[in-house]
Amino acid sequence: MYVTPEGKEIFVLDGHTHFWDGSPENQKNIHGKQFIECFYAYHTNLSPKDQLWAKAKFEKYTEADLYNDLFIDGPDDMAILNSTYLKDFYKNGFNTIERNATVAKKYPNRFIVNGSFDPRDGEKALEYIHFMKETYDIKGVKMYTAEWNGNSKGWKLNDPAAYKCFELCDKLGIKNIHVHKGPTIIPLNKDAFDVHDVDYAATDFQNLNWIIEHCGLPRLDDFCWIATQETNVYGGLAVALPFIHSRPRYFGEVIAELLWWIGPEKILFGSDYAIWTPKWLVEKLWAYQIPEDISAERGGVQLTDEIKEKILGLNAARLYNIDVAARKAEFSAHPMSIAAE
């Protein structure tokens, strides 16, 4: 729960968090080392100085850190834990669904655990989707179209093998497809930045919600165009939001574009924890106003309190069928505490 300086209580659903193990002990090779190095550079580059973590903690933080940074020290009411396997880089995977589900089980109703699959695995991918649904009752998945797999250096959402997987997701009620379309963080093929495959998939799977993490940056214009046409395409703010600290005017330009094109109902907050922690991000977002000259160029759009509340939690709650009033009542009756262990 975020309590505004005016005393208003805001429901926060953090749309993008991780519980990873990138420690040297878990690294399989140089790629694993360089992958977490790159994440750490994002952390040190865009965090306020007083929010910096030591590298060892960043590589592998504890369940207590996660719980504290999101819910005790941090303002989150709920958080989506995304699964990222990277088994070619890490012995036990980077953050697998097993790892996420274990921590989620300890804190009922606080976490939404999303699965992941690779359509290039063919039949095995379909079996795995069944397994995740039956074992973890997943409501969403996280896709990395740029991930390597054998000789393949990437795939597209509209590949036939991917469509088979999405048909199954639709059938099983796995409604929310989060897709990483953002800056280079893993080996990418030349089309990895391209967002046009979203257009096809979103048109062909109207029942599914397509949440494009990082809003396709640095292809914001293409993303906005597609998300304006397709009612079921959403934008996740992870990575775009931290600019609110280091380059606030730049963040203003990005959010003004998003508000102008896709509107306030389709923008989702995400901290990308543990790259960044939600506390400072939420505080800064709540205090933020788009500079007037930037707003004027985009029809006077502005981040009102009502819009911020949607971005911080209500939009994601709608996608995941979360009854916000019920959850608020439940959480206030059973406040989180350090003693939960």
Binding site: T184, P218, Y250, V254
Partner: protein, 261 residues
Amino acid sequence: MTAPHLDDAQLNQVWARLDLVMDPELDEPVTDMGFIEAVSINWPQAQNSSTVHISFRLPTYWCSPNFAFLMAADIKRQVEILPWVGQAVVTLQDHMAADEMNAAINSGASFGTVFEGLHPGENLEALREKFDIKAFQRRQEVVIKALIAMGFLPAEITAMPRGLLDAIALDDPENARQKARYLAILSDKQLALTAADPAFPTWQGTPIADYPLYMGLLRSVRINMEFSGSLCRGLKQSRYQQADLSGPVPVLVTHDSHACR
């Protein structure tokens, strides 16, 4: 790392050539971005046959190989223009494809033959043109916005001849720098050669028809480029730095001996 007997004038000539190499995605010189790690010249040398070694490093291990290849090729080409240089040897450090890249660049192999697996069917010249368009649009927007701030009206700008733009002085150093770069690309790409030619054509050479729509396009080009640009600058700076939390305020310290520049 420079040997004491090196001729500084020649080293400066190399750096001046490197200033002309752009990061294609960002339209900023690789020298400004801090990508060049070291330059050395083997010396003394026979006539016109000295070898210059240039090593460079990108913001992350994962930076796209096609962009890296364009930069490496441009570095080699620019340095080899110097009459006293026999060969420029370019070394990309600390990159997922460093070995293949370095072998390809220094043997003159094409990108396609080396990276067919990673970038099948990639046409680097088409990629280069895509980046040229973005560079043109980015520079153009800076100049147009500077003129608007000076009080020019959109209609005056879209009708302005190049001769008039040439004569207008921009006070802000960044605007002045971008104006010079904008004029250079107008000439290079033959978009406005004479004083009477319109100073603000589109990349296709046509006049700007719908000013607000066109400025929206330029803005989105800038937003995308700024995203990459500021991330790249920051990540380059942060690479191999770690937070030292032992003092009252966290500070970033460099932990890797080869991050030397």
